[in-house]
Symmetry: C2
Subunit: 302 residues, 2 copies
């Protein structure tokens, strides 16, 4: 559809790789599919490096979020994620790119290993100074799907989740029924954390952990395409309704991080965020799910 | 944990492959991960064949369902699925196996292509005589996850879905609240099909189409691990809440099979079956989802 543009992109990517990355010259570059908003490329260089490149017509801010999230997880050395080499604006055409290590993905992985490695990610000592000091948030705002996800640092987890997560998505729905009940839920939020509120430490979260963002590489688990921030570790299970997690996963995870009281109830809360986001992104049936969880939580907290 | 057993299994598999499949002798056999209920193996033979083998401690009936489903889809030549070579009971240890073509899976695939190929699967002329004559069901009962899925042939789709799908899962919940309301829904089911009831033809369905059962092979879509039967094509979207389908998928599908009136409402009905099944398999949060959809449908049909 857009041949000259695509060629300009490829030419520019080859130049970027050659001039700004210490990996040699590109010897082959192929398209490797598209997703909703990006075109994937694979490149090989004359030093034998294999790169995976995502290109989008948007500006570089989404890739900045992805790059900083991947790097933060990579630096913990707890779970396999692709190493990021660079991201930036394209100059020859409108758009942006992220260049990372190519993974050798194949869909089989050890579920128990994923559980243990995810727990280790959540237990890792925070690198960012704000999180190290106990605050919740991230170095930059990022996106969850295409929805903006604000990450301004806050001292208190419950306040963070209320202001930067729930209220933010509620407002985006523009639906007064959801907003009213959501606000009522926000007033009762502390009750869900009674048993654990002094134990909540900032954990680096993947932030969008569903089966499409988990894969295997030689049977070891890999995760990618994150929406990272520092938060309560249980919040990483907000997408577990689409995680494909088998019992081995939960055993592995809870071997390292025991299940706290009212885990199931808070899981609903954390799912509510993603259902609201799915409603904001895709509409339709997800309204009902958000609506339901809101009702259930309000009833339980009466 | 079970070394001697595993070796007996491998030895027997090598023998089965050599003696009963026309693919030569096994030159290498490696473990390739486990899932909730099966151990995966890969084998290469001296004629260069690459095989994928699932082994379970259960009897062969689950693999019989999988084998017949995969073969039925394979025979339509509409969408890529692995070719099945054999399944059977193990004799050296308790358990069973299925041997199929090894796929070269990698997670990227063309969503539009998946939509079009799935539509072609749904449009393919049924091979089984009962379905060719317009009946709904399958050659054998199979399983959806680990839940039995009865497939006895019936003339009428709405009756089939009521008796063999909804009522079956409702009873398994043992929950009188769900059962009562489910029965009320069953009485109103025809209303959801008013506009289309004369157009419903038996389509071969994958039956468990979620993102974990879809992958790519050199960018082309592949589907596997089915729970096949002949049914209303829209029923294949009962797992779409976890399908990862982007707009390109829907465009591709509806290019070949236009969206019928009340598609969204029936999608809820078809999701209800899978939410009930998830509740029966995993409990917990899925109760609420089944409960919600039941309520919504009952309200809409008043
Ligand atoms: N570093 C990588 N190497 C190889 N394949 C990758 C890599 N990162 C992602 N992929 C593949 O590309 C697909 C799309 O990538 P993803 O980051 O999830 O894209 P999007 O942000 O568009 O959802 C993934 O499902 C995965 O299969
Ligand atoms: N024919 C095949 N070749 C290669 N890999 C396969 C094949 N079939 C399945 N797989 C891989 O094995 C994984 C588990 O297989 P699946 O049939 O879904 O198992 P289960 O029935 O236990 O869920 C799949 O996610 C897929 O990655």
């Amino acid at each position: 559809r857009c041949r000259p543009m695509a060629n300009a992109t490829t030419d520019e990517l080859e130049k970027v790789i050659h001039e700004r990355l210490d990996v040699g010259k590109v010897t082959a570059m192929t398209r490797a599919g598209t997703s909703g908003w990006a075109v994937m490329h694979r490149a090989t260089t004359d030093t034998g490096k294999r790169l995976f490149i995502k290109v989008s017509r948007e500006d570089a801010s989404m890739f900045q979020g992805e790059a900083q999230g991947l790097s933060a997880m990579f630096d913990t050395q707890t779970i396999r994620v692709p190493e990021v080499f660079q991201y930036g604006q394209l100059s020859s055409v409108q758009g942006s790119y992220i260049i990372m290590e190519a993974l050798d993905l194949s869909p089989i992985y050890d579920q128990g290993e994923l559980g243990r490695q995810l727990a280790r990610l959540h237990l890792a000592d925070p690198v960012l100074p704000e999180a190290h000091q106990g605050r919740f948030g991230f170095s930059i705002d990022n996106t969850i799907g295409a929805t903006p996800q604000p990450n301004g640092w806050m001292e208190d987890w419950v306040s963070f989740f209320r202001e930067r997560r729930l209220k933010h998505q509620l407002l985006l729905t523009g639906d007064s029924g959801l907003i009213d009940r959501g606000n009522r839920l926000c007033l009762r939020l502390n009750d869900l954390f009674d048993d654990i509120k002094d134990d909540i430490k900032p954990s680096l979260l993947h932030g969008d952990l569903w089966s499409g963002n988990i894969s295997g590489e030689y049977a070891a688990p890999v995760i990618f395409d994150p929406a990272c921030y520092y938060g309560h570790h249980e919040a990483d299970f907000g997408m577990s309704w689409c995680g494909g997690f088998a019992s081995g996963f939960w055993e592995g995870y809870h071997d390292l991080i025991p299940r706290a009281p009212r885990f199931e109830q808070r899981q609903k809360l954390y799912q509510l965020y993603h259902f609201l986001n799915h409603y904001n992104l895709f509409g339709g049936g997800y309204y009902g799910m958000a609506d339901l969880i809101l009702d259930q939580l309000l009833k339980e907290l009466q």
